[in-house]
């Protein structure tokens, strides 16, 4: 029995991979994402200059052989700044999404699995939270509790879990009455084990798709806040903050705006294409076309 489920599982993933590998834009997205992650992990080793290294005499210079992407007004290497900024941007993207994932999956799985009144109460809470204008609330939180990076993770994660909870709940509702769950029930497994071992793994497809699409939206939210000066604070840096600095000096030194802008846009582009590709690949309904 377990083997049969395993086999079915791998074939679904294999099928998805075949579909995905035919989608060039999605593969491009995947490649960009891998390069970004590797670069971010290795930044302290491969960055051409130190994060704080500055050459005040030099000031802002256009891209050159020594500084591929130029230097900022303090003579700091722009490529290095963008690499370190990308670390923070990606970290916010991944950690905040992870927070959203954990809350959303647990909430949705519990509501969908137990159903009835518990479900009604839990989903009503989600409805109420949905109606709140969260962008405004995040700004409020940052004002009240200071601009703390940890709080930023939590605040963004706390916004993004709602959709995840809805997706997981509807999946679980559909799964709950399937034979293999009944079988697990009659084998005497505890409810918690059934949720963990049988329900959650079977909801992975839509969850993966939504996760891939949440990461760029979280990164965008962070950049948005940092741009306004309400997100990441110096000496930390992120792409949003670099764009903010770039805008101040864009008349004289446009590359200080353009390069971080390209980094952010390219990443969002890649992640969105990957997410779209995964949705097409993991959705069995798309196999018809």
């Amino acid at each position: 029995m377990a083997d049969a489920i395993e086999d079915h599982g791998t074939s679904l993933w294999k099928d998805a991979w075949i579909k995905l590998s035919k989608n060039r834009l999605a593969l491009f997205g995947l490649a960009v994402l891998i390069i970004l992650i590797v670069t971010s992990l290795l930044t302290p080793l491969i960055a051409p200059y130190g994060y704080e290294t500055q050459d005040l005499d030099m000031g802002a210079t256009a891209p050159s052989l020594q500084h591929w992407l130029g230097t900022d007004i303090f003579g700091r290497d722009m490529l290095t700044r963008i690499m370190y900024g990308g670390r923070v941007s990606l970290m916010v993207g991944f950690i905040a999404t992870a927070v959203a994932l954990v809350i959303g999956i647990l909430w949705g799985a519990i509501a969908g699995f137990f159903g009835g009144r518990l479900d009604a109460i839990m989903m009503r809470i989600v409805d109420v939270l949905y109606a709140l204008p969260f962008m405004i609330f995040i700004i409020l939180l940052m004002v009240v509790f200071g601009r703390n990076i940890l709080l930023l993770f939590l605040a963004i994660g706390a916004v993004e879990w709602l959709t995840m909870a809805r997706i997981v709940r509807s999946q679980v509702m559909a799964l709950r009455n399937q034979e293999f769950v009944e079988a697990a029930n009659s084998l005497g497994l505890s409810q918690w084990t059934i949720i963990r071992r049988h329900i959650i793994p079977n909801t992975l497809g839509p969850v993966i798709v939504y996760t891939t699409l949440t990461i760029p939206s979280v990164m965008l939210l962070e950049a948005f806040l940092s741009f306004l000066g309400l997100g990441i604070q110096p000496p930390e840096s992120s792409w949003g903050l670099l764009i903010n600095y770039g805008v101040e000096t864009m008349e004289e030194f446009p590359w200080l705006l353009i390069f971080p802008g390209i980094a952010l846009s390219l990443t969002l582009f890649a992640l969105n294409f990957l997410g779209d590709g995964l949705r097409d690949a993991l959705d069995p309904r798309t196999s018809k076309d």
Binding site: A131, L132, P133, I136, V144, F145, G146, L266
Partner: protein
Amino acid sequence: MYRFAISRLLQAIPVLLVVITVTFFLVHSAPGGPFSADKAVPPEVIKALEEQYNLNQPVWQQYLSYLGDVLQGDFGPSFKYSGRTVNELIAAGLPITAELAFYAMLVALSVGITAGVGAAMRPNTLQDYLPMTGAMIGICMPSFLLGPLLVLIFGIHLDWLPVSGWGDIPGDKILPSITLGTGYAAYIARLSRGGMLEVLSQDYIRTARAKGLSERLIIIKHALRGGLIPVVAFLGPAFAGLLAGSFVVETIFQIPGLGRFYVQAAFNRDYTLILGMTIFLSTLIILFNLLSDMLAIWLNPKLRQEIRGTN
């Protein structure tokens, strides 16, 4: 339908109460009161100020009296802009932000629907790929990047358009409206393409074709109404996004609207202004979500029946 509208309106009341309560206690739990400013203020001045702003009462009493004021539409005085009330500031900023949002929506709807419907009419051709790639770029180009780039190109290099202000120089409304509208144009293009593709494959469209109607007439008379439902449903969330986007666009273009007030209030720690504006903006967003839901239901007979069935 009316019953649905009323029940949704009633549901909005607890949501608003939650908003008011959470915002109030968040702001009041902020470390460092509003007057713990840089300068040392004499104690008697602090006491007078506290009395003026009711800060010497217990928090729950402040909460109840604030709630009472808010229910009567009074958000109290601003902490930082002395002598001005939050209501006055909102009244000053609202028309400007509303105008900006209106133009941005105009840009978004006209460009988005044209591109999306055009793409859906000839799927998987250049007429589909070009606008959809454009839409993807639009989605990945946030307003805080697009705005400065437009300023750099059209304001500084080409020197065609003014780069700041609102209604001071002719043409100064163009760049902010495009900056704010582009992202939504991109979403609307994708939504209307998807909606139209689905509708165009339905039987009643085939019937219309079989009757020999021109493609133009089929789109306008039969397909648009159903195909644009996803766009209509998106209008509510889009409105919330437009307000948030106005924070950035009004900051970039130095437009004295609600968004700029809100960001400045956040920087100045102007607690009453933040509190009042949060409640005001939340109310607006909740109302617009409600309106766009109602509009989507009114356009979609299937949903209308479902609601009748559940009531």
